[in-house]
Amino acid sequence: MMASQWPYSRPTNRGRPAPAASSWGALPLDALSEILLRLPAKDLCRLRAVCSSWRSVTSDPLFIGAHAARHPGPLFLAKFRGDRAHIHVVDLSGTVIKRMPETSASHQVLSTRLNLACLATEWNRCRVLNPATGAVRVLPEGPAPNHVNRVNLSNPYTFFALGRVTSTGVYKVFRMFNRPGFMSMGQQLFELFTINGCTDHARWREVQSPVHVVKPWTGVVADGVVYFFVMDNIGNVIPPDFIVSFDLGREEWRRGLTGPISGNAGALEQYRKKKAELDLAELKGSLVIAHYHENPCRMDLWFLTNFENGIWVSCSYVIQEPTPLQKWKWDILIQLLHIYVMDLLVYSSRDVGNVWSRNFDFHLPSCLVCMWNRECSVKEEADDDAVKDEEADEVDVKEEADGANVKEEEADEIGVKEEQDENDVSEDEVEIIDPPPRPKKLRCEDDGVDFIDLTTSHPVPYLNAKPVRALPPPGAVPTNEWRMVVAPPPAELEQYPPDHREWHLFKKSYATGLSTCRGRKLLDAGEVVHFAFPSYDWLYGRARVSARQATALAEIVRFSTNRSGEIGKLSPVWAKCLAPLVSSSKVLIQGKMVFPMVELRLMQEVLLYVSFYVNRSCLYLIDPENARHPDNPLRPLFKLLKRFGES
């Protein structure tokens, strides 16, 4: 009779001691959470299915907080080479804590240590992901209204950055269009997108371009500001550590800032050759310039602690004989400088309250205690045990990591993040890392998890002008946005020197002008500008003007380009000096633009690169013997040239 009632359900219980059937289910919540606290997040996620009381315990915010405090390890958002269809949340040991489907294989994770992560391609596809909920928001591809005809949507080259405005808590995505041919086009277009609740009317907004041409792949967000290195310009007067920055909160460019490295004048030349050794990164919420030295293997970190006063604080790491453990740490350290960080963990989706949001400050793996608030000298501390005692937990985690990583399939393409809670990092400690001397961009093949170095993950546009296009995300509106893009007329770049039998090239120099028009202009670096000098006729146009007006007018030297028409006039100091010399045919000038520009404002300073030719008949005027003669009409020119740094 019993047999017929329980035909097959009992075998699962057979041979097992039979505690009161519901006893484990009746465990006091305290005792249950004590147990569950010891399990990793991934197990918890699975165990929520066991029964409802387990689910409610693991959903309790207090429990989540306690679990987060007990498992403080940094979390990475990662994409693995073998599985591009998912984004993984990974802890330091390489264990996947969470996996989220990812619809497009080509997106890279560019998260910052925020509650959102940004996934983008270089080809104008960008999405914002909430790792806690898995919610994805696809950002529109269309450009800002004012940029509509200036972006080649069929072949864009874009840079994205996600940042959070500290004061308001608003997230903004910064986009830069930087077409492969931008040197000939002279345009970098910048746009901003605010991420907020209402999605329907959101669109990209245009942002003014900076004076400099930025290096897009150096872009880094720190504390709501996007920082870039800039490209060399003609004349190459820009120090390698010159930085421009865009404030996401105020939505404006800040003044340029020269880094600490070229401030050391003696070393400038040397550093200039080694631009590749410099990297921008974000650590502890500060901008960092990382400077690698090959020999001896060393890395200097310069923290920007005060933008207004340009105060940088340095910190050095010496790299010595490696142990496997330390080698791994070193990799992490390097990666930290290149990765963007995210702050959030999560083991569940959907239900509110399952978000493990940790506003941890970010710091280096704790064995690498970073003393960054004052100048840090490096001392040796070879004894690994000391470090271990102090950070026993951390070290354990990392040792596991070595083993675990080996098993892990090769991984690639990661945006990774790392963050740990910083328990009053002992400021007095200096850590020493003894990793191996290794090229900074070397992949750590043996580690299995391959942390991509974001500085190399952006293909240089010239080398990779036509990469595989990203697939559109499902649900995206099919783009009928193929617009006819009319190519602008080519810039006039060739300039022919005047007849050398008549004119002698005297000097080349920078000169300044002021724009007299505003709006969109196509001005390329190196584009030829034409000067219009006033005549000395008292007839100006057809109107007779007073002597005073005529004098004033005589000092206005306008310049223009073939493509864009009038641009501006020479600044008064130059005009006053040059106008009489040119009109008397003693001097002839030819000019080029120095910086590409897209938008002009009224009275904006325009830098020109000007060649000065002296008429052969006036060569005696530039003879050193006569140059200082008080009556020499070229004297004001000499003074100006000196002031503007002739080259």
């Binding site: 519901s22 289910g25 991934k42 996620c45 066991v50 996996r99």
Partner: protein, 174 residues
Amino acid sequence: MAAPESGDGNNGAARMVTLISSDNTRFEVEAAAASLSQTLQLTILDGGGGGGDGIPLPNVDSATLSKVLEYCIKHAPAAANGGAPNATAVDRAELERFDNEFVNIDQSVLYSLIMAAHNLEIEGLQSLVAKKVADMIKGKSPMEIRRTLGFPDPTPEEQAEMNAHMLEYGWAYE
């Protein structure tokens, strides 16, 4: 009867207290060992449990209580030293070995131990058994855990819920 006075302070090691389990078995142990329990500690400090009148523990049966006391007696010296400082590596290794063997027990006993440790608030024992259970659970699927821990078979609703969860969180099951 005079024991409460003389047993004060550092002489606690000599002082004995009596604990009475739910089935009326009496256990006589050193006060220092019994004091590992936060619950008992206050009573003992107040002078209770000495002499003829034991401390009744209606929630704990004698088998479990003897197990708990075995743990307490083993750990009392280390706790009295305030933990690690002058404990040698040998001592620690010995304790560890003891702990490992101690929890290598039947599930029903383990369950009563959890309850007892919880009721008596013995911190070390709590985390020891919690760790043991966590190890048992780790890496298992929800169904395996239900079986391991002797939950009743899931109702159809529960089963459907578990299947849905598995679909949604497939990655967590790998």
